[in-house]
């Protein structure tokens, strides 16, 4: 991956606090996202992974400006879009799109497929060469659907097909980056594979950048170039997919990876079981947030929050005072070739 090209998307210190109000007095805030820093290069796919409630969906929503960030900055293709109004964002909409998780809720039941996919064009008053209908049918074909389905209704399609319609809609304005918010979690395994393959083809053919949000490590490993592991609103480790999956440095990442069920290495040995529950985001633990569930937490972890920096030559950034070292029992399934 050539590091020197200008990052398409760069996020610095992104935070989002949901104030909790008891009557009129605000009593603390849920610090869903608490200072994220990451970049995404054109054509590159960054995976955001973490347990539910770690703030990954909130981040996704903020990137597409469905939510107003509390502080920090989002720069897309060189322009700061953190607090832009609807008019400033008009240009942004064409390059940055989102795909949702629930195929049944993301399509308007009363609109025909044609109208759904054409919506982004219609909203931004863009008439592509050759007319909207032709463009829509191209998109349908692109996502593997029969163009004749133009005036069918969502209730006449399966979950997988609906997700394809959602993708077609996202591609309508030829975006440069797509935020995919758990696009396949609601689908059956077989259909998941189909949709993932479709996304990978698009990634390759249209040189698309993705921010791929998921909690399924296997899907992330299959699709993403770089991976960021999130815990309680912060990124605890970020780096290339291979280094993260083979030599995870942050204890939490290691625990997550050990949880991947692998038929070949049965037995408890390989599995690290975390104790206790995820602490409340209302007032996260002092110092390192993971210390309450980390088996090797020390006083030092409680006093000073570890910064996200490179710990050794591995190239990935880790936020841990005592990073792990050495390879983890890598599942023997042969790594699927990932195009650069």
């Amino acid at each position: 991956m050539s590091a020197e090209t200008e990052p398409l998307l760069s996020v610095r210190g992104l935070t989002k606090h949901f104030p909790v109000r008891q009557g009129l007095r605000a009593r603390g805030a849920v610090r869903a996202v608490d200072g994220l820093d990451f970049d995404v290069r054109p054509g590159e796919t960054l995976g955001l992974v973490g347990e539910s409630g770690c703030g990954k969906t909130t981040t996704g929503r903020m990137l597409v400006r469905l939510l107003e960030p509390t502080s920090g900055s989002i720069t897309f293709a060189g322009r700061d879009i953190t607090h832009g109004g609807r008019r400033e964002l008009r240009g942004l909409r064409q390059d940055l799109q989102i795909i949702f998780q629930d195929p049944y809720a993301s399509l308007n039941p009363r609109h025909t497929v044609g109208r759904i996919v054409a919506m982004p064009l219609q909203v931004n008053r863009i008439t592509p060469p050759g007319g909207v209908k032709k463009r829509v049918q191209e998109l349908l074909e692109l996502v593997g659907l029969n163009p004749e389905h133009y005036n069918r209704y969502p209730h006449e399609f399966s979950g997988g097909q609906r997700q394809r319609i959602g993708i077609a809609r996202a591609l309508a304005l030829k975006p440069k980056l797509i935020v995919a918010d758990e696009p396949v979690s609601a689908l059956d395994v077989s259909i998941q594979a189909q949709v993932i393959n479709l996304l990978r083809d698009l990634q390759r053919d249209l040189d698309l950048a993705f921010v791929f949000i998921a909690h399924d490590l296997a899907v992330i490993r299959h699709f993403c170039h770089r991976v960021a592991v999130m815990y309680l609103g912060t990124i605890v480790e970020i780096g290339d997919r291979d280094t993260i999956y083979t030599r995870p440095q942050h204890p939490y990442t290691r625990a997550l990876l050990s949880a991947i069920p692998d038929v070949t290495t049965l037995g408890p040995a390989g599995r690290i079981r975390l104790t206790g529950d995820v602490p409340t985001p209302l007032n996260p633990p002092s110092g390192c947030r993971f210390r309450t569930r980390c088996w090797k937490a020390t006083d030092h972890c409680a006093t000073e929050e570890p910064a996200l920096t490179t710990r050794d030559d591995g190239g990935q950034l880790t936020a841990c005072h005592y990073p792990e070292s050495g390879p983890v029992g890598m599942p023997t399934g042969e790594p699927v070739e990932v195009s650069k």
């Binding site: 989102i98 009363r110 389905h149």
Partner: protein, 334 residues
């Protein structure tokens, strides 16, 4: 690869649809509207009440034509067909060849033609009022439901005040003064003005029910992802409200509308009952029924004809409204 039944069918459909063109025709797209229409056609009650309604509306629209064929005008008086105390001569309240439903006791006007014009006035008011109130209710409901926050609480507060204000007292105060405000003591108040006054009075109060209903629906739809998808693509408020949300709340609006109409027919009759509705010169259903009640013991026929007609009209609307609700309800088993 475990395929759930739903997925399996869909897969089969994709593979098969490319190969056999004839099968494609069978699966031509049927919009939710067409689905509802199919359900309605199968429901006998809906059809019967639908036909009855059509007849009523036809009679109302063709009132002048019917008058020309029937040969008697609504204000024509037949004093000679009444006895000394004003009761119609002959059987069943004066029913005869040229007076199918008999004569009004006292004034001696023909009941049949007055009822036709009466239906026209009442339906005009009822449909007008239902239309206006539903529109106001929908707009306020959507705005309150979608924007939430301060706007929502203000609109809800206005709804509370409108619900608390006693409608009849308001109507009693406003209706008589309305015409005095716009027309001098010497010029005649045209019929359409009297009808509009009633519609305005009904509209001032009728929207609260629909507003609350629509607000509830919009609040639940607002979070749905297809709305967020539109917002993410830069859709404005107008697009989100009226292109994305509105099509999804037609069902409750239609049902509210179809049940509002009979309540306004009864409302107009109630206002006439209190002597506030339309002036005597305008043939009105409510006024005729209200006047006929006193003749229950002396000229029951005069009570029978308008009574059974308003019963049929309101019943038909109620039945049609019910059937419509069942047809529109996606979960309904029929």
């Amino acid at each position: 690869m475990s395929l759930s039944p739903v997925e399996g069918a869909a897969l089969a459909e994709i593979e098969s649809s490319d190969q056999e063109p004839d099968e494609k025709k069978r699966l031509v797209g049927r919009s939710p509207g067409q689905l509802v229409w199919a359900r309605l056609r199968r429901d006998r009650t809906a059809m019967v009440s639908g036909v009855v309604l059509a007849l009523f509306i036809l009679a109302a629209v063709a009132a002048p034509l019917i008058q020309r064929l029937y040969g008697v005008s609504p204000n024509q008086q037949f004093g000679d067909l009444l006895d000394a105390t004003g009761m119609p001569l002959g059987y069943v309240g004066g029913v005869s060849g040229d007076h199918w439903f008999g004569l009004e006791p006292g004034l001696g006007r023909d009941i049949f033609i007055r009822m036709i014009y009466g239906i026209r006035t009442s339906l005009l008011i009822a449909l007008g009022a239902a239309l206006v109130t539903t529109t106001i209710g929908v707009v306020l409901g959507i705005v309150a439901g979608f924007l939430g926050g301060v706007v929502d609480s203000v609109i809800s507060w206005i709804t509370d005040v409108a619900l608390a204000l006693p409608f009849l007292i308001f109507a009693l105060a406003v209706v008589p003064t309305f015409s005095l405000r716009f027309y001098g003591p010497r010029d005649a108040v045209p019929t359409w003005f009297a009808v509009t006054t009633l519609i305005v009075v009904f509209a001032a109060f009728g929207w609260t029910g629909t507003a609350r209903l629509v607000r509830g629906q919009v609040v639940s739809l607002r979070e749905r992802e297809f709305v967020e998808a539109a917002r993410a693509s830069g859709a404005g408020l107008g697009h989100m409200l009226f292109r994305q949300l509105l099509p999804n709340i037609w069902a409750p609006i239609l049902v509210a509308f179809s049940l509002a109409v009979p309540s306004y027919v009864t409302g107009e009759a109630a206002l006439s009952f209190l002597g506030v509705g339309l002036p005597e010169s305008v043939p009105s259903f409510g006024r005729m029924i209200y006047r006929s009640i006193d003749y229950l013991q002396t000229d029951p026929a005069y009570v029978f004809f308008p009574g059974i007609t308003i019963f049929a009209l309101v019943l038909a609307f109620n039945l049609f409204g019910d059937a419509l609700r069942d047809a529109l309800d996606p979960k309904s088993s029929r």
